[in-house]
Structure formats: C-alpha cells, structure tokens
C-alpha cells in the first residue's frame, strides 16, 4: 500500500485556496463548503447515461428538496426543451413518453410560483404548461399521468392567476367562469383515475398525484378564507380554539352576487368531491401495497408515509366538518346566555348536533389512528386531541367520556415524554378537566 499523504489543515488550505483564487482568478470548489451542490439519486435499474432517465431523477430531486431551487427548475425546463427539440431530429435516440411531457408541463407550472410575487401576470406559464399537456395528449391519448397533471395545473392556476388579483369588489365579468375552469380540472382527474385503475397502474397513486388533491384542498381553503381578516400571520393557540361556542357571523365576508367566487363559496360540491376522491385514492394506495406485499402499518417505506399523510388529511377534514355541529351542541347545552334554545341553531337541536358531531369525530379518529406512527409523537397527539373532542361531546362523567379522556391521556403522556414537554399544557388542561369532573 502506498504511504498515506498528509493534509494541510482546514483553515490553512482555505487560505491557500483564497490566495490561489487571487492569483489566477479561478476558484476551486471544495466538497466541504459547497452548499449549493446537488446530489441526484438514480434508481438502481436506471442507466446513468440515459438522458431522459436523468431528467426524471432530477425532477424527483427537485420535488424532494421542498421545491425551493429555481436554478434546478430552470435546468429541468431547459433540458426538457433540448430533449424535445432533439427528439424531432433524432427520433431513434429518444423515447419521450407521457411522463416526459407531464414533467415538462409541471415544471412550467412550478415556475409560476417563483414569479408570482414579482410579476403581474403568471398566465403565460400556465398557458405554456397546458400546451405541453395537450402536446403530450396528442401523442398519448388519455394518458392518466398527463390527465392528473392537467388537473394539478388547473388547481394551481385558479388561486395564482385569478384569485390573487381579486378583491371583495371584483366582478365575475372580469374573470373566466371559475366553476367551469375547476370542473375541467375535476373531469381531468376523474378520467385519469378511471384509466389508471383500468390499466392497473396503481403506481400512479403516489406522492405526486396526492399533491394534486392537496392543491385542490389548498384552493378550497383560500376560497373559504377569502376576505377574512388575518391576525399578523401568527399561529392560533390550541387553547384559544377550545371552548369556542357557535358564532354565526364569525369574521366571514358576504360576497356580492356578481363576485366570481360567490357560487364557489356557497357550494359544498368541491369539498365533497375532494373527500370522495381522497378516499378513493387511499383505497388505491392500499391496493398497491397489497400487490407489493407491503404491510402499511408503521412502515418506514415512502408508501407507508404516503398512506399516513392521506389518512391524516382525511381525519383532519372530518374533524373540521365536526366543528360546526360540535359548537352548536356546546352552545345549546352549556351556554346559559343563549335564549330560545328550543328553536335550535341552523335547524339543529342539541341532541341532533351532538349525534352528527360524534359520528364525524369517530370517523376522524379511525383515520387518525391509521395515521399513527411509532416514530412520530405528533401523530399520537393528533389522535389524543380527537379523543378529547369526542369526550367533550359525551355526557359529563359518562363512561364514554371517561374512556375517551383515558385514551387521550395515555397518548398525551407518551407524546409529552417523547417531546420533552411539548404537550404539557394540553395534558394539564385534560387532567384539570378530568379532575373537575370528579
């Protein structure tokens, strides 16, 4: 073995490199301090010389790195452009499939986010992205990957291109019909889903497709919050949220009949659609796991994480839906200042509101329990908090209530220990509640 050589030292070699840079004007890039270096992981079966596979790997790397690197994104777009041009002259060398066209379109769609702040109009990015989808579909008719991607672009386009420009005074004449635009997205997603299932392409029910549903969920939240006062981008305190009774007025804004978001705000169609499709998505993830003989519960594989993410989202959506009936019940049952209790609120009597809320929270818990992960104390606390909500709906001191509180306490104790006291105040509130009931 050759005798080992000796280094100069971290500081001294940096000084030497600095001097060298000063002398000849070039910079040596060391591996140690080069923060902008990017590692692209290629699948084992991928040929490292295959340019299209490299592009796919680069796209995955971009998505995995929180989508915050515009430089990489631009690189992807340039590479897509180059491959597309070359494919026209060297047809035998490149096989550009639906995946390629989808990545090209989605990369353009992502670019709109980087330019949304400083540019007035992001329309060209979305137009071009949809053009790439059409181009792809002209070669691969009905390709589910392209159709999922089309829905994704539409769900991003609505808030970024349209809603961002709207004021409470906006008029629907100034905008395209948002319902029609959205419906185009829903149709595209549904068709994609049908085709993927028919072709047994369950691998398409992956993190990237889940992002399509996520972007619709974000869009619906934006519509819900439109025109509402924001409190200096600070987070809510969990204690502030608790014990809130039903308040019809809240801080919601009544939009004019002619406002482009008016029909959306009043329709539950999109929320229902989101949940139906998310449940369907979950089933398909489970089918994929079954096919691959993967046990999802507590799996550290990416599909395990995806399954938990979807379950958590569904659980949260049921909890959110339970908020209104739960608040109505609390107000009618415990608020002594409310008059005419026999009239109910929003057509609901206390018992009815409670039954609805219990059903929804129970449903939420089922999903949140599926999202529980032995390595994630927050997931235990999420279930615990849902049990506290359920306990609050049951009669004071009832066995059901005690059971709920006890399940919550066990999880919170564990989560609190694992997070060195992060849930201390919630746990104390719960114990206080249990003590008050005694």
């Amino acid at each position: 073995m050759a005798p080992p050589k000796r280094p100069l030292g971290l500081g001294k070699s940096a000084q030497k490199k600095k001097q060298k840079t000063g002398e000849d004007g070039t910079t040596e890039v060391g591996t140690s301090a080069n923060a902008s270096e990017l590692t692209v992981e290629l699948n084992e079966e991928v040929d490292a010389d295959d340019e299209v596979s490299q592009l796919f790997a680069l796209w995955k790397t971009f998505l995995g790195a929180e989508k915050d690197n515009e430089l990489v994104l631009n690189g992807i777009i340039h590479e897509c452009d180059r491959l597309l041009r070359n494919s026209q002259t060297e047809k035998d060398k490149y096989t550009l499939d639906g995946e390629f066209h989808a990545i090209y379109a989605l990369a353009l769609n992502e670019l709109a986010f980087f330019h949304a702040a400083e540019e007035k109009d992001v329309k060209p990015y979305f137009d071009e992205a949809l053009e790439r989808i059409d181009l792809g579909l002209s070669h691969f008719k009905g390709d589910p990957r392209l159709l999922f991607s089309k829905a994704h672009i539409i769900f991003n386009r609505v808030p970024l291109e349209y809603i961002s420009k709207m004021t409470p005074e906006s008029n629907s004449e100034e905008y395209p019909n948002i319902l029609e635009v959205l419906d185009d997205g829903l149709n595209s997603y549904e068709t994609a889903q049908k085709k993927a299932i028919k072709a047994e392409r369950f691998e398409l029910f992956n993190q990237e497709t889940f992002r399509v549903l996520d972007s619709l969920d974000d869009l619906l939240s934006i519509i819900d919050d439109f025109g509402k006062k924001k409190s200096a981008d600070e987070g809510m305190d969990s204690e502030d949220e608790e014990e809130l009774g039903f308040d019809e007025d809240e801080d919601s804004l009544q939009l004019n009949e002619s406002h482009p978001l008016k029909p959306l705000g009043e329709s539950e169609k999109y929320d229902i659609w989101w949940r139906t499709q998310t449940i369907e998505f979950l089933k398909n993830v489970e089918k994929l796991a079954q096919k691959s003989e993967i046990i999802l519960k507590d799996s550290s594989l990416p599909i395990g994480k995806l399954h938990r993410d979807v379950c958590r989202k569904l659980g949260q959506s049921y909890l959110l839906e339970a908020e209104e009936p739960s608040a109505i019940f609390t107000t009618l049952e415990y608020d002594s200042e409310v008059e005419d209790k026999e009239d109910g609120i929003n057509g609901l009597q206390a018992d009815q509101a409670r039954d609805i809320a219990i059903q929804l929270v129970t449903e939420a818990i089922q999903y949140l329990e599926k999202a529980e992960y032995s390595d994630d104390p927050k997931s235990w606390a999420d279930v615990a908090e849902a049990y506290v909500t359920l306990g609050n709906l049951h009669s004071v001191d009832s066995k059901e209530q005690e059971d709920c509180y006890s399940k919550a306490e066990k999880r919170l104790q564990h989560a609190n220990k694992a997070t060195h006291g992060n849930y201390e105040h919630i746990l104390n509130n719960l114990l206080q509640k249990s003590n008050d009931d005694i």
Binding site: P4, K12, K417
Partner: protein, 615 residues
C-alpha cells in the same frame, strides 16, 4: 443558512457609533406624560426599589405597565408597518433584528414622520426623568442621556439568545421593553421568557436558571450590568408567535454630563467579558476538561513503524473493525481514495460508516430511548454515566467520557474534582459492559409498558467509543489521514432539544513536537430525521477566525463577519456519518443550539487527537 461568525459570548451589537441625541426642553417636558403616571407614585417607586434590593440571583426589576398604553400600541403598529426585520443567526442567537435605532435623530424628516411614536418612545426612555428613575430604583449611579443604544428585535418561532452577561464597553443598565400582541396573554409555554442565572463563582454561571420572567405587553425588565454576574438568556420561542421587544442599554455618563467620572469609562471597558473569557483561570470550571491522554509509545509503534513503507490493516484488524465498520471502508483502494480526498480538502465525510447490521440495531436503541426515556432537563437530573457540560456561557450538553462520576454542582465539589479526586484514565469498554449488565438485569423484570432507562443506549455508545480507542482504528485513521496520533480524547455527546450547544471556540496552541491543530472525527449518530435544512439547529460549523485586526477593535464591538466565505464547513445532524477533519488553530468551531422543536437530540461521538509533527 445565514450563519455568521461569533467570537465570544457577547450579545449581538453591530458596530455602533456614539450617539448624540439631545432632547429639546419641550421634549423633556413632554416625556413624563408618555409614561403610565402610576409608576411615579412614591409608594410604587419605593416598593420597586426594595424589590430590586432583595431580588435574586442579582439586582433586577420589572414594571408591568410602563408606558401610556395607547402610545405603545401605536409604536407597535408603526414598527410592524414600517420596519423591516432581518433574520440574524450566529452561534449565540437567532433573532429578527431591525437596524440600529440609535441614529434616528439623524434621519431625514421623511423618515421621522414615518415613525413619530417611536421617536416619542425613545425620547421618553432616555429622558432625564426616566434615567433618574432607573438610577434611583437600581442604585446604579448616574446614566448618560446622550449615549443611547437601542434596537428592535422580534423573536419568532425558534429564536433564542443564549447565556451572556451583557458586559460590553460602558453599559450600566440593560433593559427590555416587551411588545407581544396587546390584549392577549403571553403564556409561559410559548417560550421567549427572560431567564436569569446565578453564578458558581464570578464569571461562571450555573447551568440551570434561577428565575424566569414571562413578559407581557408594555412590561419592562431591567438590571444593572454586573461584570461576571448578570448572566441571563432569552428562552427560545416555541410556538408560531412573535415576541416583539425593544432592547437597549443605559451607558455611564459621558464627558460633560452630570455624573461623569474621568477614567470610569476605561475601567468599565477593561472588565469586558471578552477579556475575562480569555483568562486561564476560568477553565477550572469547564467540564469536560479538554484533556487528550498520551497514547502509549508501544501502541503508537503499531501504526507508526511502517507508515512510509507498507502499513496496512492486518486480517485481525479487519475482522475486529468489520464488527462495527462498513466493510467497504476497510479495503486498500477505499482507504487510498479517502486519503486522497483528505489531503485535498483537509476534511472528509463518510456516509454509512457503521455496517448496516450494527447501525440498524443502534438506531432502534437510540430512537427508542428518545421516545420512551426521560430527557434530563436540569443538572441534578443528569445521571451517570452521563455528565453535564458546563458553564452555559460556553456550552451545555450531556456527555460520557468513560471516567467515574464527578459531582460538579458547586464551587466546593468542583474544587474537589480538580484538586483532590483520583485522576484515572477513561475506560469505555468497562462502562459499556457495566451498563449492558444493568440493562439485562432490568429486562428480566421488565413490565409491559416501562420507561426506557437508557442503559442499553449508553452501553452501545460506549462500545463504539471503545472502538475509537482501539489500535486497529488508529491504524485505519493513520492510513486515511496520513497522521500519526499520539494523544486522544473521546467523548460521547448528546445535545438535547431546547437546551444544548457549544459556542464558537478556537484551539489552544498545541505542544512541542505536535502538529499545529488537531485531528478531529465526529461520528454523527442522530437517529431522527428532519435536520437537513438547519432550521432546528444542531449543526456543526467551522469558520475562519479573523483576529488579524484585534488591536483596532473596540471591546464594545461584537465581531461579526459579513462574509459567508469564512464558513469553511457545515455538517447537519445526521445518521451514521463520520466526519474527519484536520482543524488547525485558525479555525473556529461551534455546535448550534438545538431547537425545542427539533425532532430529537443530536447524538455523536467526538474524537480529538494530537498528531506527531514530522518537521
């Protein structure tokens, strides 16, 4: 990441010029009306004076409703709409800071008209009325009205300021006026509290805080700056809320002002913490001791004798090392490649250092202990074989050094450890076996749901520390680094969320016959994920030390490099990565404070070696 250099334990104070604002007679007269008038009642004032006199751990006071409420609300709105905050992060703090307000009177009229209420507030704080008030209640002596020193900070989620005593230049009284959202209670679990530390002896703060103030809107806290005593920190803000505050100092009177004493300024400055930190005596209270033990010449012989000829790992070496280390790192061609990289960069990172089987078991054991064990929060909760690294104006973490228990909770026990107690050499192998037996004994009695004692985690980690002490490992290290190591110190370290860090330190000069600098290896063993962005801290950072122009520096100036090029190396907390570096004396290194919201602790095994000079 915008980490910049910090050269000591002092607070962020960018280079400031002496400020000269002189309130007009009109402003002085108005100043008193800007305050809550009740604070001027004699009964209140004398009550405050008494409470400060008897306060612990040193003289400090607080007023809950200081200003006219509406004025301060207006100031807050003005700040939020007009001032831009920038995130600043060094080894000692993370905070969003405004620019320096001190020069505000020098701004043009347009700017002043943007901040009229802030201008009123500043003139009130530095008015003679209020300076005399502070002087009276604290008994600190006269305060300057012309040298003002204020900045606006907002502590958002993850922001913190570690322990320091505020002793810089001519500061006499520190104050913080708090402005979280008015009308809402700032709750203790939000974090962001001001915590005061008692001292073991002057200049050495205790590791646990003595008292804690959870601040509310319009509350001011203040204390006399007392060299070596007034240690305090700002607890990390744990939730997604903003704790806005105005931080500042009253300085000693300047020439021409009432209370000016010739020579006082120079004397005050001479007591600067920066100088005190450099005094050798203070290291008495540093634990762990930086003490690299001599390696026996007989052992060195095994890897020194053939270094320039045909040194290689024997089959026995490979079998032993292979129990722990990834076998691909033990073959000749890998070792030669590692050596080549190391020569070029003076630092190498080796991913998947431990073999899969060993790493898999270890990761489970550590993570289980994190999730199901107790995390010591105070000094007396740290149990052997773990020990607490002190003092907290330099470091806080827990560690195993392979040595016996060392009680270090007060000056007497520290004195005993330093001057009386047996001085033995580390024995990780024995520690590992002992705790493995403890674990087995406990496992036999284990109930279904039981807290994890951490015995197995400690045992496994000591086993690895023992590996680093082996002749075979030193031979491998010689082949990779090209250096012959002659002294070593191995520490197993755990940096707990919401608690631990090491501030920037520079190496002492090494002894005769040794190379300048040390060979350092860190085996990263953080079993949780989510550290990659550096947002939750826990990273190790090396940077160039810039002490060339030391003579020009005013001690009041906190050195801060604006140049990211000075960062030589950053390593996020991670799993199963070995970093080897040759750190020479020009390199500063720190481990960033681990956020309360970090996914777990940062764990590592740190080895440092002196190497033989061949010159």
């Amino acid at each position: 990441m915008t980490t910049k250099r910090a050269n000591s334990t002092s607070k962020a104070a960018t280079k400031k010029q002496d400020i000269t604002i002189k309130p007009t007679i009109d402003e002085e007269a108005k100043a008193k009306t800007y305050f809550n008038q009740e604070i001027f009642d004699d009964e209140y004032k004398n009550g405050l004076q008494n409470s400060i006199k008897t306060s612990k751990p040193y003289h400090w006071g607080t007023i809950t409703e200081l200003m006219n409420d509406q004025l301060l609300r207006d100031v807050r709105s003005e700040i939020l709409s007009e001032i831009v905050f920038t995130k600043k992060e060094t080894d000692i703090y993370k905070v969003y800071q405004s620019g320096d307000l001190a020069n505000m009177s020098g701004l043009n009229w347009d700017d002043l008209s943007r901040l009229p209420n802030l201008y009123k507030l500043r003139s009130a704080i530095y008015s003679k009325t209020f300076r005399d008030y502070i002087s009276y209640v604290t008994g600190c002596g006269k305060l300057s009205g012309i040298k003002t020193d204020m900045s606006i900070n907002t502590y958002r989620k993850g922001c913190h300021l570690l322990t320091h005593d505020d002793v810089i230049g001519t500061r006499r009284v520190s104050f913080i006026l708090y402005m979280p959202e008015p009308g809402k209670t700032w709750k203790p679990h939000y974090g962001g509290s001001l915590r005061l530390f008692d001292s073991i002896v002057p200049n050495v703060p205790k590791s646990d805080f003595e008292c804690k103030l959870t601040p509310q809107f319009n509350q001011i806290a203040f204390f006399t700056v007392q060299p070596g005593l007034s240690f305090h920190d700002v607890e990390e803000v744990r939730v997604d809320k903003h704790r806005l505050s105005i931080q500042g100092w009253f300085h000693i009177p300047q020439k021409g002002e009432e209370g000016f004493i010739p020579g006082e300024q120079e004397r005050t400055e001479a007591r600067s913490t920066l100088q005190q930190l450099e005094s050798k005596g203070l290291k008495e209270y540093d634990f762990p001791k930086i003490r690299r033990n001599e390696i026996s010449p007989d052992d060195i012989f095994h890897y020194d004798v053939d270094i320039n000829k045909n040194l290689k790992l024997s089959q026995q070496d490979i079998t032993y090392l292979g129990q722990f280390i990834n076998p691909t790192l033990l073959n000749t061609s890998s070792i030669e490649k590692l050596n080549e990289s190391f020569v070029n960069e003076s630092v190498i990172e080796i991913q998947s250092f431990l073999n899969n089987e060993y790493a898999g078991i270890l990761k489970k054991v550590l993570r289980r202990h994190e999730l199901d064990g107790s995390l010591p929060q105070k000094q007396d909760e740290v149990e052997f074989p773990w020990k607490l690294a002190i003092p907290p104006h330099k470091q806080r973490y827990i560690y195993m050094d392979g040595l016996d228990e060392q009680p270090i909770d007060n000056a007497d026990t520290i004195d005993f450890v330093n001057h009386v107690a047996p001085q033995e050499l580390p024995n990780f192998g024995m520690t590992s076996k002992y705790f493995n037996q403890m674990d087995s004994a406990q496992s036999e009695k284990k109930h279904e749901f039981q807290e994890d004692s951490g015995y197995l985690a400690s045992s496994k980690l000591c086993e690895l520390a023992s590996l680093l002490k082996s002749i075979a490992f030193k031979k491998w290290l010689t082949l990779v680094s090209g250096l012959v190591v002659v002294r070593d110190q191995i520490l197993v370290r755990r940096f707990r969320p919401g608690q631990d860090f090491i501030l920037a330190t520079q190496l002492d000069k090494t002894g005769e016959g040794l190379i300048d600098g040390i060979l350092e290896a860190t085996l990263n063993l953080t079993p949780s994920s989510g550290w990659e962005s550096g947002e939750v801290g826990g990273y190790e950072l090396c940077m160039m030390s810039n002490d060339d122009n030391e003579e020009d520096d005013d001690p009041a100036i906190y050195k801060q490099s604006e140049n990211d090029e000075d960062v030589l190396y950053t390593s996020q907390a991670s799993w199963n990565k070995l970093t080897v570096m040759l750190r020479d004396s020009s390199v500063l290194k720190f481990v960033k404070y681990v956020s309360f919201n970090a996914p777990g602790s940062r764990w590592d095994i740190n080895g440092t070696w002196d190497a033989k000079s061949t010159d």
